[in-house]
Symmetry: C2
Subunit: 386 residues, 2 copies
């Protein structure tokens, strides 16, 4: 186990009926005028928008709106958001939506205090010294962004889909009400589950030894997610399954699962390059890329892949090498069972940009922790994913 | 799953060699003069005292000392500590030791800003509005006090051993260096493991339904603790086992495990009454009381006890009632295997004060979540524990 330094200051309010208190929470912390940031309108259909607006009004919180944040959120929207916030002089952001809205809020909160372009933070040209407070209201459990400091933004012009975060960009408070997720379409529920499991696996398969507590934690999150997503495919209104999936998704990326590990994150790196070229859902990209990544790297840690097979799929094969291969196949089958795509071709992606995507994944240098991946490795993985 | 509101602001620094930075951390947060609080001198034997003092001096932090905090920490020592802090006008407390020292630091930190008697907080006559910052340096993993807001203090005169905490008494930062625990005697390592497992079980067996994620988390902590303590009995210097046990102990009671549950805590309540009458180690009391509590209450949730048997001990018995009984026996056997006492008689406790202890457990009303326990229940449980 590696040494670690953990500090997650986000307050998490969880459960049915909690969103109606958002105004009170903002008031409790003394903020008077907020930016109400959201996506493309699903919160108007599921009633969350009305609940939030009513609550803000009742608490006497002034607000201005910015809508239209899209999945795989983009830099141009961040710039627009920051301009509006500067003009309106808000005290805080109320980010209502999924990971895209939360991710947009984080860079915007930091850029509020910066005169240059927000992308400078991603390029590490500048470091934040403060950020506006963020209040999250989560409407889809997937990215864990409600309880961490990170955000992924796509710079459309430069085809860069990168992650960034700072200790100032943890949401001050996030509300997770699983009951508002009852109306999500099946594919979004499935995507949330795949995102959750992938976050866990990016830390689980990193080669660090002596992390039994973390491994147990990881496996618990994965099993909970698998059981819950299957229940939700049967019955999207199952509150307990929604609640367990939601809590698993938050735990998967609030920092705990990665403690004492170095992490790998190569599959995310590769997926970001794929979705810099193709407008696919992030989780779909992960479902396509990760099994291919597994096949490419499993020999670096056969025992861990065998353990994964045993603890998650009950594979008791004694030959570790065989067990590892069986585990990867079982994971792929699970993804297929829940309706996730496991090859690029399922989203009509052919081999035309493989080389460019492989190069794109190297923009910030080689990636990966379990195995350091260079352009050729990524190219091979993408071919395996075809 | 029940709704919850979680906010744990403690920063946790974990790993070998981290204690030598304590002075820098205190300085980073701007504190200049601290109370150095510790126990009966084990930190002088294992070198931690020297490391802390050297680090404070190098960082230019002024300090005064208060030593002599004993296991099952007492109110008289809290009073003495608060008097010294008021006289010396310290900015913060550096609490070096185990749960007793940390627990003493919490009530002292709050009482620093209060003119009356510290016990008033425990009696709920007064609520804190602030507290001195606490920096923890943990030397034995057991209570989880390094990353929560609570503390148990014994009022010797009134024979009350009670818990208390507030949102102001989370340590600002705690350092956990598992390597300093290599020199702990076997019984203290075992006690830490029993304390950890009991904390988990007090939330696990509470009757709340729909908590799969929490159950998986609980079971992971328990299995990790069981594996690690057995390794440490074989080899007390096994760093990875120390690290896993330490991290499990922190996770067991930093709040996460109890989220979405109501909790039970009856075994703690009963143990507190036992150790208000007999000077036994807290964990020994828990090892004696909890299996008896299990026997008394398991029919309230046979399925959960059967699940416990399956997930922890691999018991696959189909008859749930039988499986539950087998699980309780297996848990008792595990405690015996690691050398924990499982009956009061093993610590020369007879039936002379059973009634008085049962009454004592009722001082703040009936206890328990899975089953509400009245005086007669506690009396029966104590008889079962004989």
């Amino acid at each position: 186990m590696k040494n670690f330094d953990f500090h997650n200051p986000t307050r998490l309010v969880f459960g049915e009926g909690t969103i109606e208190n958002i105004g009170q929470y903002v008031k409790e912390y003394g903020d008077k005028k907020v930016l109400l940031l959201y996506g493309k309108g699903s919160i108007k259909r599921n009633g969350v928008y009305d609940t939030v607006v009513k609550s803000l009004k009742e608490a006497g919180i002034d607000y201005v709106e910015m809508s239209g944040v899209k999945p795989n959120p983009v830099l141009s929207k961040v710039r627009e958001t920051v301009l509006l916030m500067k003009k309106e002089k808000v005290d805080a952001i109320v980010a209502v939506g999924g990971g895209s809205v939360l991710d947009t809020s984080k860079i915007s909160a930091a850029a509020y205090y910066y005169d240059g372009d927000p992308w400078d933070f991603y390029e590490k040209k500048v470091k934040p010294e403060r950020a506006l407070p963020i209040y999250g209201v989560l409407t889809i459990s997937a990215t864990g962004s409600e309880m961490n400091s990170g955000g992924v933004i796509t710079n459309e012009e430069e085809k860069k889909k990168w992650g960034w975060g700072s200790k100032y960009t943890y949401p001050r408070l996030s509300i997770v009400d699983p009951s508002v997720q009852k109306t999500l379409p099946k594919n979004q529920t499935v995507n949330g589950a795949v995102d959750t499991i992938t976050h866990v696996l990016e830390e689980y398969f990193d080669g660090t030894k002596g992390t039994l507590m973390q491994d147990e934690f990881s496996e618990g999150i994965i099993r909970t997610t698998m059981v819950s997503v299957k229940k939700l495919i049967e019955d999207p209104e199952d509150y307990e399954a929604r609640a367990n999936l939601a809590w698993a998704a938050t735990l998967a990326l609030n920092g705990l699962n990665g403690l004492g590990r170095r992490g790998d994150w190569a599959s995310h790196g590769i997926e970001h390059s794929v979705s810099a070229y193709y407008d696919i859902a992030h989780a779909e990209g992960l479902a396509m890329v990760m099994p291919a990544w597994m096949k490419h790297v499993y020999k670096e840690d056969v025992d861990k892949f065998a353990r994964f097979g045993e603890k998650i799929f009950g594979i008791m094969e004694e030959d570790k090498e065989k067990a590892a291969v069986m585990a990867i196949e079982a994971y792929k089958r699970f993804l297929q069972e829940i309706g996730a795509p496991v090859s690029l071709s399922e989203r009509n992606i052919g081999d035309e940009h493989l080389r460019a995507m492989a190069k794109n994944a190297m923009l910030r240098g080689p990636i990966g922790g379990l195995k350091k991946l260079h352009e050729e490795d990524v190219y091979e993985i993408l071919k395996l994913a075809l």
